[in-house]
Symmetry: C2
Subunit: 358 residues, 2 copies
């Protein structure tokens, strides 16, 4: 079968060995004689999966003391509500930075729980830039929510400026793509289906001293404290998605960890942006200083060329390049597992198309 | 490798062909050249998986007009809160029947949202019987919540008596084990990891006209109406767990549907209960009239024999027989996918042990 490179925004490409090892575990896992799909989450084998996955998250990100690592369900979308349910008192205030569709959804859900201050927004230019984090955030706010990478619009915070509040960050689409200083964050969450695993689990890293202060009774499944107490097994966890996470985390470590990955990601994105900038037909949509290393968004000026380029891409096994309807054009999602070979194939397609049609 | 029969309560045994087909899909799915683990939920292949899974649920259970079928996340435990969030007004009333640990957890969560009337309970005898549904339920209640099968205590409602309220039923451990009349229910929910799939998705069947009447704003991810509108893709669904559900549903249909399965389940449970009743050493823990066809709970009188029997079982490849700590002894979970061959192996072990030690 023809080699296919998956540029889909999520669920997204993972290392080939992760697919193969998962397939093996679906037939028979460990020495149990059972499929991983039928094994009790209370079995020693599955508890070992959970423990190793949590330990690798801590090791790879350098998670400091005082933080808890959880594997939950419901995606980032459920975190949009769980975060304020747990952290934002009814009479309290939280800051949200509006950098795209997902950031907006997060702030919308938070409004059910307390006062939401949208301190900056780039909606005026269809989110093609990052507005930055304003100085003088309200001192009485409990956190500042950011979306570290905006999958749809192709922008990414290159760093997290020092501010007076703990950040709460949706890192669904760039977790594990680079080193971060976890101590700047009160809470980090990430739907797994981009850089970590298949869909079905959500990683949460939370500073434990922030919990229990919202002054409301929280339904058990939405209460971080209950999940911490249950060691992510308060109820039956999504075992297979956590196992895929573990396999990816092992691969991340083997590949050299986050410093090496960031270098590789910069090299990949740099090559692709160069090809776009040097072409006659294609234009990047995001402000150059804010360009994402994970999602590369670009357009052509004429709709006919769009169809023609997607057809060429398909012919060459370059899958999932159609842009999100809010931006149009193309989006190449080049997460950790996308090899340089995939970038080279896409760059060749861009150059060949440019020569043929410009 | 030695044949292993998995008697675990959940995650639990599924048909072998389901494990094999899932393994194949993890390597390459459909004709895409991609692993199912990396495929966009918006791809035509995954939309087809969701559509077929929903259609088979409707077909197998005979779901009438006016009901919606959803695949969500968070397990039955999240449904404990979603049900009252959506159905129970702050000033309203709901009836709960207390038949075990899970039923109790459901009523506990509901108390956050409205008035909960526990109309019957079997907690006086450690839930070893079903208290029945009382006549004269409060006419102003909005639903009557039952747990159709009590996994821990080995009891199961053999039928659903006609009552004045719509039932809301947790069917996590006996969904698809027999035909039911869905029109008696306002809402049915089931964590998939017993009779349907691996852990990671939750089936919900809801009568649409009951929604939108609770008079509160509901966080999006907890709002059934939003999931209905999004056709279970409001956010990224747990694709792999839904695919495993689909494969099991296809197997259920091929095996002859729910009438045939119920016959088979009765034959399996009958044989096992007979062996227990005819033994000298083993005693069933549940009231005979309320015995579950899914979870067979039994004990011996002496702790030393417990260890010895578990050792014999292990030697013979009979896995997951240790009882829940609330009941002790043994529990054989014999869901749909447990073949008669597994029952026979367990019956032989019981008889041999009885002869050797009685």
């Amino acid at each position: 079968m023809k080699k296919v490179f998956n540029f889909s925004a999520g669920p997204a490409i993972l290392p080939t060995e992760v697919f193969e090892q998962t397939a093996d575990a679906c037939r028979s896992f460990s020495k149990s004689g059972l499929s991983i799909l039928e094994m009790s989450h209370r079995s020693k084998e599955i508890i070992a999966v959970m423990d190793e996955a949590i330990a690798l998250v801590k090791e790879l990100l350098g998670v400091p003391q005082g933080y808890q690592v959880l594997f939950l369900q419901g995606g980032a979308s459920l975190q949009f509500s769980m975060v304020p349910y747990n952290l934002l008192p009814q009479t309290g205030k939280a800051v949200y930075i509006d950098t795209g569709v997902w950031a907006k959804k997060a702030s919308k859900e938070a409004k059910l729980f307390g006062d939401v201050v949208v301190a900056a927004s780039s909606s005026d230019k269809n989110y093609n830039y990052l507005p930055g984090i304003p100085q003088n955030l309200p001192a009485d706010a409990v956190y500042c929510h950011v979306t570290s990478n905006n999958t749809i619009f192709g922008t990414q915070m290159s760093h997290f400026p020092k501010i007076s509040l703990p950040y709460v960050a949706d890192m669904s689409s760039d977790i594990f793509s680079r080193p971060i200083d976890v101590s700047q964050f009160g809470l980090i969450y990430a739907g797994a289906q981009k850089n970590l695993a298949c869909a079905g689990t959500t990683l949460v890293i939370v500073r434990e001293d922030l919990l229990g202060k919202a002054g409301r009774t929280i339904p058990s499944m939405l209460d971080y404290k209950i999940h911490i107490e249950g060691e992510s097994m308060f109820n039956t966890p999504p075992v297979i998605s956590i196992y895929v996470s573990l396999l990816t985390l092992r691969w991340l470590k083997k590949t050299g960890g986050l410093v090496a990955l960031e270098q590789h990601n910069k090299a990949k994105a740099g090559k692709l942006y160069d090809a776009i900038d040097n072409s006659k037909l294609f234009t990047g949509t995001a402000n150059k200083a804010d360009r994402s290393l994970m999602n590369v968004t670009f357009v052509t000026q004429t709709p006919e060329l769009e169809e023609a380029f997607l057809a060429l891409a398909k012919e060459r096994g370059l899958d999932g390049l159609k842009g999100h309807r809010s931006v149009g054009g193309f989006r190449a999602s080049i997460y950790n597992a996308m090899p340089m070979e995939g970038i080279d194939a896409l760059v060749s397609a861009l150059q060949d198309f440019d020569r043929a049609h410009a």
